[in-house]
Amino acid sequence: MNAVYALYDNPAAVQRAVDGLRAAGVTDADIQVMSSEPFEEYEFGHKDSASWIHWIAGVGGIVGLASAYFLTTVTQQSWPLRTSGMPIVAPWPNLIVMFELTMLGAILATVLTLFVSAKLPRRLPPLYDTDVSNGYILVGVQRPSGQPLVDVTAALEAVGEGRVKQIDR
């Protein structure tokens, strides 16, 4: 595996680098941009946005609701004990448990989606530079070893600023 990356100190340069890589024929999926803060106002900051997370949260909520419904009704019927003249399956109190588990389901589904789709937790991959934490923005391309990265290097250097580095491993 080998990779080329460049470190820039301003997002405008990053945008030019990303556009240059695209022009050189690198697909969006292969371009990796790393930073110590999100850049919402630049186009490159949006390239991996996804709107489907909300739906997974909703599904998690429905799963929570359903499990709460079964938890309350089944357990109340499995050993029916009368209290305070209430019905054996008491709908009003059960609604409270259902609400809480709906919310818990949605929250857990969201966090699970975050971890799975952001590939966390993992070992820190080789394509990284600690200078990212010093405020630099990393633009890199990673390819299986053997494949040439000349075009990538050229595109990154064409931006005119930043430091281009190489990883051969």
């Binding site: 100190d9 930073s35 803060e37 999100p38 919402e40 946005s49 857990l108 952001a118 405020g135």
Partner: protein, 452 residues
């Protein structure tokens, strides 16, 4: 190193983690020994029985439940406020959110200990959890205490995740800036965070959804805590207003706790450049609003009881209004309404020391409020023959003091090991943004200039 923008910021906020003063060890030692006293008091109670506490027939609930409600109330400072500020995208929230969320996490943990301490058989507290006993009997889902279990745990899990998720990028930053053991520990905590655009996107999307989900949960938690009381036929407990009344009170006391915590952090960690008068001023306005709301709820509650004129409720009403509990009642009104409204309404009086002083008063007042809801109702129930009284005993007082020390201890330790202000969110805040409207900009400017 410092060639790139925003590095002074990261340096400032990481510094407390790398350099430890003597004061830190001293504070930890003092606070930890107070907490140990509390643990010893609980051990004493476990050994001799609940009788060493002041609770009795008919006042079966006392200080422990007061503290339970109080601490759960304090927990409403953090996640709720931070979630609302996130959703409305208030720019000034950035340095505030994490200090607030930490309060939630710790206050909830402390609050949730009290229902265990107050049990007759605390070693069996897990019988409330939803699992079948050896005879296939599940807990009673009609009991408000089981609702508490679900509500508090949902809120605790949600708040912890809400707190921890935005900490991951900061851990990654510390990982890259440290060496040796620190690097290994923070590297593990960072979970291999690189800061790719995908990761940032997923994190922000997740935080957005969590913010939406956590607000109704927070409201439900204190509503359900209020149900512990309003479900029972105790005079002045059995009230429909309790849900919103408790939630308003919780947010009220929560903001006060947040202001005190922020003032302490600002002084001790030298965060004058990050927590500036604008934040305190905004929070003080929120505190004023909640004070007015609280006054409205108390008035509604009192008026309906007085107008209804039921003998059993009037006994409690007069006991608080001009009887044995009157000194606490009027202290509460003074601290929660008269002082906040008369001080915070005036910009001239809304100074940092003034705001902090008012907040301390609000904490006292809100503690009395919880006490006055629980105890007078129990001591004058329907049958006059069974009227009684309540005097707190040493274990209850020591445990209560210990929980305040526990809060301070946990907060001190947290701010020692985690940047108390979210570094990456501050960086986003420093990105160029559209200019403010003229009047708002002027106000912000004047507050900046007023900075001591």
């Amino acid at each position: 190193m410092n060639r790139t923008r925003n590095n002074p910021l990261a340096d400032d906020l990481v510094r407390p983690l790398l350099h430890t003063s003597v004061w830190f060890y001293g504070a930890v030692l003092v606070l930890a020994s107070i907490v140990a006293c509390g643990a010893a008091a609980w051990g004493y109670q476990l050994w001799y029985g609940m009788g060493v506490a002041g609770v009795n027939w008919p006042v079966f609930w006392g200080f422990y439940e007061t503290n339970f409600v109080f601490w759960i109330g304090i927990s409403h400072a953090g996640t709720l406020i931070s979630a609302i500020l996130r959703l409305v995208n208030a720019r000034w929230r950035r340095p505030v959110t994490r200090c607030a969320e930490v309060i939630t996490a710790f206050a909830l943990m402390i609050g949730a200990i009290f229902p265990i301490i107050h049990l007759g058989k605390p070693w069996l507290f897990f019988w409330v959890a939803p699992y079948p006993s050896a005879r296939e009997l599940w807990p009673n889902f009609r009991s408000p205490l089981v609702w508490d279990f679900f509500a508090i745990n949902t809120y605790l899990i949600g708040s912890l995740l809400f707190l921890i998720l935005p900490m991951i990028p900061d851990f990654a930053l510390i990982r890259d800036r440290t060496t040796g053991l620190r690097q290994r520990i923070y590297g593990t905590l960072a979970l291999g965070w690189q800061g790719t655009t995908t990761q940032w996107h997923r994190l922000e999307a997740a935080m957005q959804i969590m913010a939406v989900a956590i607000i109704p949960v927070a409201v439900s938690v204190h509503t359900i805590v209020s149900f512990d009381f309003s479900m029972a036929h105790v005079p002045m407990w059995h009230s429909t207003i309790f849900g919103p009344y408790f939630v308003a009170g919780a947010i009220f006391s929560g903001i006060a706790a947040l202001i005190i915590a922020m003032a302490a952090l600002r002084r001790m960690l030298n965060l004058h450049a990050y927590l500036h008068p604008l934040h305190f001023d905004n929070l003080a306005k929120l505190l004023l609003l909640m004070s007015l709301l609280w006054g409205y709820f108390v008035f509604s509650e009192r008026l309906t009881v007085w107008y209804g004129n039921q003998p059993s409720e009037m006994a409690v009403f007069w006991a608080t209004q001009r009887g044995a509990f009157a000194p606490f009642y009027w202290t509460m009104v003074f601290c929660n309404f008269i002082v906040p409204v008369s001080v915070l309404s005036f910009r001239r009086l809304r100074t940092l020391p003034g705001i902090v002083l008012v907040s301390c008063g609000v904490l006292v007042g809100m503690w009395f409020e919880r006490f006055l809801i629980i105890v007078p109702g129990l001591s004058t129930k329907q049958l006059p023959y069974s009227w009684g009284t309540y005097t707190p005993q040493p274990p209850e007082i020591v445990i209560m003091v210990a929980t305040f020390a526990a809060m301070a201890l946990l907060y001190t330790l947290f701010s020692k090991f985690v940047p108390i202000i979210s570094i990456w969110e501050m960086k986003v805040g420093n990105q160029p943004h559209p200019p403010l409207p003229a009047d708002e900009a002027e106000e912000q400017q004047s507050l900046w200039r007023a900075r001591p």
